[in-house]
């Protein structure tokens, strides 16, 4: 157990080190003409860079002279908010469908569910987003399709999570701002959750099938337990951890997709921030994004790993991320 923890932490540090080197190279590249002591060795410069990073001095944006760290974190918080809402929606819809498909393999409904899942996988996300922006007009639903929140509301940035911030600003706007933000999230999160739904359905179905084949389920049948009892008592408990593990691997894809969706919906977040920074030539945003986004993925991976280890001890042997 301790050995495992130690190995994971070791992995964390080495990976973090490599990430910081990549970020350093990028920073070095993006500011190649302006670096102060260009004749100092790379190692000394790296150490200087790291000490600045650790003290929270990530440099200033060349667009508006605001600190990069704050800009990057605010943008990423917005992205996370989108991912979170989409994730919740996707789970509510996909897990029951996946379980159903897994339990009734090769039935007509299973085929239907899996066809939908395959279609969801094959739809390019940006195109789906573009088409979705047309929906409110075609269906006559008054839903906003652009921006993160109506400019009528002035929400001070406290946590960066706009939904939270709107609640904090409830004194001025009551819940209007909160609902406005939520309405702005509906369409983008639907697009993102469609991708998540297909992914979760496939994983759940696969996982349930595997568990249903296992010997202990056969034993439970032999014990005379009803199917319902078996599913709730044995199958679900054992089928879910692999799903979490697989989803963890999808984290970076989910964030990639979220960024593209943000760009189509002009939803303020990492995607819009990165794209506009690149277009304005503010390349310092790239290493900042690497450190923040990959740092987040790294930390949450380790967290999920430890969580899974507590749930299922088999995983304790693996050396690398798989």
């Amino acid at each position: 157990m301790l050995n495992y923890l130690f190995r994971r932490l070791n992995l964390l540090f080495i990976t973090a080190f490599i990430l910081s080197v990549i970020a350093f190279i990028l920073t070095y590249w993006s500011s190649k003409n302006t670096l102060a002591d260009a004749d100092a060795g790379y190692i000394i410069q790296y150490v200087k860079y790291m000490s600045a990073i650790l003290q929270g001095e990530w440099g200033l944006s060349s667009i508006d002279q605001q600190p990069m760290l704050i800009k990057g974190l605010t943008a990423f918080a917005s992205t996370l908010e989108l991912c979170f809402i989409a994730f919740i929606t996707a789970n509510i819809i996909a897990i029951p469908l996946g379980i159903f498909a897994g339990l009734n393999r090769n039935s007509l409904l299973d085929y239907l569910i899996m066809t939908i899942a395959l279609i969801g996988l094959a739809l390019p996300v940006f195109w789906l987003a573009v088409i979705t922006t047309m929906l409110p007009r075609l269906l006559g639903i008054p839903l906003p399709i652009d921006g993160g929140i109506s400019p009528v509301f002035e929400i001070p940035v406290v946590s960066g999570f706009i939904l939270l911030d709107t609640l904090l600003a409830a004194d001025t706007y009551q819940l209007d701002a909160f609902f406005n933000r939520l309405a702005h999230l509906i369409l983008p999160s639907s697009v993102l959750s469609l991708f998540l739904i297909t992914e979760i359905i496939r994983l759940t179905r696969h996982s349930i099938t595997m568990v249903m084949k296992s010997n202990y389920v056969k034993a439970a049948y032999a014990k005379g337990l009803s199917r319902k009892e078996i599913v709730f008592r044995h199958v679900l408990k054992n089928a879910l951890p692999p799903i979490i593990h697989q989803l963890r691997l999808q984290l970076s894809t989910i964030i990639s997709f979220a960024m593209v969706i943000e760009i189509v919906f002009s939803l303020q977040g990492s995607g819009v921030w990165l794209l506009s920074s690149i277009k304005e030539g503010d390349y310092l945003a790239l290493p900042t994004a690497i450190l923040i986004i990959s740092g987040f993925i790294l930390l949450s991976s380790i967290f999920i790993d430890i969580l899974l280890m507590i749930i299922s001890p088999i995983k304790r042997k693996s050396l690398y991320v798989d």
Binding site: L11, F126, V130, Y283
Partner: protein, 297 residues
């Protein structure tokens, strides 16, 4: 066993033939296979089958709808864009660039990735350890971000977007190959092969490779799907082809302005991406099933 040439059905089939006979039974997969073949042929011979040159402007026919819509013209089956360029020709050119790019990436990544992955799996020690930690770090960076960084460093162009996508997908492939080989390496038959004194190349070619076909197919399919999506995403964001040549994502981006007057200009390229991915996925899924069934017997 005695082989009787008169009775064909008793002939022992090679694994390949056997797999093929299982695959043949799946009519959906067969359809998908033909679909994939047609798409690949379109990609290879796009220049010969386009009805018009994709950049020729028919200024008398601006923004024509597809011919089955009222006001359409059968000379331009899918209509024309705002410069009077034939939509079908541009779509075919788009398929050529997107699908061709994705196929090239899949081939390049699989060759390069197999070599690195196999080397890593068969070597132990510091070198392998460094590689793995590097891979861990690279896998954590979202592929879109990697591609953006590389594009910013190289400058936006179609070729550079292909390079960027390949490099961002390479770590996934290496890791996938590594895990499959590693799983096989621990099995008894490999150990016995080793004890027989097989060289590494022989071990890989005759021992491991036939047994990891299924994960390789899955992996290739995944890389291919991701490549299509990423090339078109980069194109959509304006980091891919510039101006004259238009890949599917860029085609969508440049048509968004016209979404109210000619929605099909946005619709068809998206549909093309969708069909490409769908057809190739069904095909490889069928193949994978055939391989699994073939192994089981």
């Amino acid at each position: 066993m005695l082989i009787n040439n008169e009775f064909n059905e008793e002939k022992i089939q090679s694994p390949l033939q056997y797999t093929w006979s299982i695959f043949k039974r799946n009519s959906l997969a067969i359809t998908a296979m033909w679909g994939s073949l047609i798409l690949i042929l379109i990609t290879l011979f796009a220049d010969y089958i386009v009805p018009y040159a994709p950049s020729t402007q028919y200024v008398k026919h601006l923004l024509l709808p597809p011919y089955w819509v009222e006001g359409g013209n059968s000379a331009h089956i899918l209509g024309t864009d705002d410069l009077g360029r034939d939509s079908l020709a541009r779509l075919i050119q788009g398929i050529q660039l997107t699908l061709g790019g994705a196929l090239a990436i899949t081939i390049a990544v699989s060759i390069l990735g197999s070599v690195i992955g196999a080397t890593a799996a068969l070597t132990k020690g510091l070198k392998a350890s460094i590689l793995h930690h590097l891979l861990d770090a690279l896998l954590i960076i979202p592929t879109l971000l990697t591609a953006l960084i590389l594009i910013v460093m190289f400058g936006p162009s179609y070729e550079n977007s292909l390079i960027a996508v390949s490099l961002s997908l390479l770590p996934q492939f290496i890791r996938g190959i590594y895990i499959s080989i590693e799983n096989e390496l621990n099995k008894q038959y490999i150990i016995s092969l080793r004890l027989d004194g097989a060289t590494n190349v022989r071990l890989l070619r005759f021992g491991i490779f036939p047994n990891i076909l299924e994960p390789i197919i899955t992996l290739l399919n995944r890389i291919f799907t991701m490549a299509i999506l990423e090339i078109s995403t980069l194109g959509f964001l304006g980091f891919g082809t510039q101006f004259l040549d238009v890949e599917l994502g860029a085609l969508i981006a440049s048509s968004i302005v016209l979404i109210y007057s000619s929605p099909w200009l946005v619709f068809f390229p998206g549909l093309a991406i969708f069909i490409i991915i769908l057809v190739f996925n069904i095909f490889t899924e069928g193949l994978r099933h055939a391989v699994i069934e073939g192994e089981d017997l």
